[in-house]
Symmetry: C2
C-alpha cells in the first residue's frame, strides 16, 4: 500500500508516463519478513509487471529495495531498476550534511542496515542512528494520521533517536507508509530536524534515468493497478496513500 506514496510523487513529476502498479496485498506487510522471503516475493511481482511491457521498474518499498534490489537488477537486466534507498540516502546527506542522520523504518530495513550503508557510501564518517517503527505501518493503514495515538507512537519511536548526542539533524522516513504520518512526526521531531521522504527524490531519480535513456513519455498518464488480494479494499485504502481516488474497476486481481 505504501508504495502508492511513491507513485503519487512519480505522477506529479512525470505525468506523461503510463503506470502499472502492483500491490502484493495477499502477503503484505513485507517489513517483518526475512530478506530471503521478501526477495522471492519481489522477483515474482516483477515478473508479473514484466508481462505488462514495462520499460522501467520502481521498487517502491524500502524493505524490498533493501533486500532485493541487486537480485532484481540482475534478473531484469538490461531493464533499469530504481529503488528508494539510494535516492533517500542521497537526499538525507544533502539535507543534513553535518549529520547525524536518524532513520525510522520497518524491522527488516533496520536489521539489514541498507540505509546505514547507502548513507555512509556517500558520507563515510556520517553517524547514523536507526529505529524500527512497526506501529506506524498499522496506524497509516488504519487512516489514523493525527491525534493522540500517532503522537504517542511518534514519541515512543523518536524519543531515543532525538536523545542522541549530538541531536540528529535529518530524519529519513525509511518506509513508504510513513509520509502519511509526516505532520505528526515533524511535530514530535521539532523544527530543527529535516524530514526526508524518499518518494520525491526517487521520482527525480526515475526522471533522470528515463531522460538519459531517451525513454521519457510526453503523453499518456494512465494508471493501472494489480493487487494479489481484495482489490476493493486496495482501491478504498489506496486513496489515502495515492492522494487521488482509485476507481475499483481499474484494479485487477492477479495471482503470483
Amino acid at each position: 500500500m505504501g508504495g502508492l506514496t511513491v507513485m503519487r510523487a512519480l505522477r506529479a513529476r512525470l505525468p506523461g508516463e503510463d503506470y502499472v502498479y502492483l500491490g502484493d496485498t495477499a502477503r503484505l506487510p513485507y517489513g517483518t519478513k526475512s530478506a530471503e522471503t521478501v526477495t522471492r516475493y519481489a522477483v515474482q511481482a516483477s515478473a508479473a509487471l514484466m508481462r505488462h511491457g514495462i520499460k522501467l521498474l520502481v521498487v517502491a518499498c524500502n524493505t524490498a529495495s533493501a533486500a532485493a534490489l541487486p537480485t532484481l537488477a540482475e534478473t531484469l537486466a538490461p531493464l533499469p531498476v530504481v529503488g528508494v534507498i539510494a535516492p533517500g540516502a542521497a537526499a538525507a546527506v544533502a539535507a543534513a550534511p553535518d549529520g547525524p542522520i536518524a532513520v525510522i523504518a520497518t524491522e527488516g530495513t533496520v536489521k539489514g542496515g541498507a540505509y546505514v550503508r547507502a548513507i555512509q557510501a556517500i558520507a563515510p564518517h556520517m553517524p547514523v542512528v536507526q529505529q524500527a517503527a512497526p506501529l506506524f505501518v498499522a496506524l497509516a493503514e488504519e487512516g489514523l494520521h493525527d491525534g493522540p495515538l500517532p503522537e504517542l507512537a511518534a514519541q515512543r519511536y523518536l524519543g531515543p533517536l532525538l536523545a542522541t548526542v549530538p541531536r540528529p539533524r535529518g530524519l529519513v522516513l525509511g518506509c513508504t507508509h510513513f509520509p502519511v504520518l509526516k505532520q505528526v512526526i515533524a511535530q514530535v521531531a521539532g523544527p530543527e530536524v529535516t524530514l526526508i521522504d524518499s518518494a520525491e527524490t526517487t521520482a527525480a531519480a526515475v526522471g533522470d534515468v528515463l531522460r538519459k535513456q531517451n525513454l521519457l513519455n510526453g503523453e499518456g498518464g494512465t494508471a493501472r493497478f494489480l493487487a494479489t488480494d481484495a482489490p476493493g479494499r486496495f482501491a478504498h485504502l489506496g486513496q489515502i496513500f495515492l492522494g487521488e481516488p482509485i476507481d475499483p474497476g481499474s484494479v485487477t486481481l492477479v495471482d503470483l
Copy 2:
C-alpha cells in the same frame, strides 16, 4: 503468532498430547485478507500438518475459523477439525445470557459476521455489536501490552461498543492476539463487562472431542513448531503468546 495463546490453553488442559504448531509467518496477518485467500492459505497449512500425522486439527485463528472452517472440515474428513468461533460464541452466551454481547476482532472476522451467526445460532434474539480492532494485532506483536498506547487504542475501539444501550455485558476477544492485551482491555471495559477468551473454551472443546473419539493421550507433551518464514523471529516473538520459552531449534522452516 496469536494461535499460540490457544496452544497455551491446550497445553495447560491437555498436557499429555503431542503438538505440532504451524505459524504462517510468511503471509501473516490473515485479518486483513479476503475469505478466499485465507481459505486457500488455511488449506495449504492443514496439508502440511497432515504430513505430520495429526489426529485432530485446531484452527487456532479467528479469521481462519470464520473463513475456512467448513472447507477444512470437508477437505480433511473424517479428521476432527475444531475452530475457535463456536467455542467462543458458546462461552459468550454462557457468560452474558441476557446480553448484549460485544465482539472485537480483525477486519476480516467482523466483515464475515461469523460471531454474530454463531452467537445467534445459540441465542437467536441476542443483540451483538462488533468492532474491528486492527491496531491491537500490531500492539500485541510489538510486545506493547500496557501503558498509554494500548490504553488509548482500547478506548478508541471499546468506546463506541460501551456506548451501546443497553451496555454490553460480555466482550468476546475475537482474535487470538488479543488475550495478551487482556488487562488493558478489562480496565477500559470496566468491571461490569465479562471478557471472553475463546482459547480456554476451545481447549475444553478439543478435550471433549478427543474423549468422545477415544483419542486422548496420557503421555507425551512434546511441542514442535513449523514456520513459513523467519523461524528465529517466530521463536523470539512466540514466547509472548505461548507464555513459555520456545527453543529456536524446535522451529522448522517450511514452504507451503
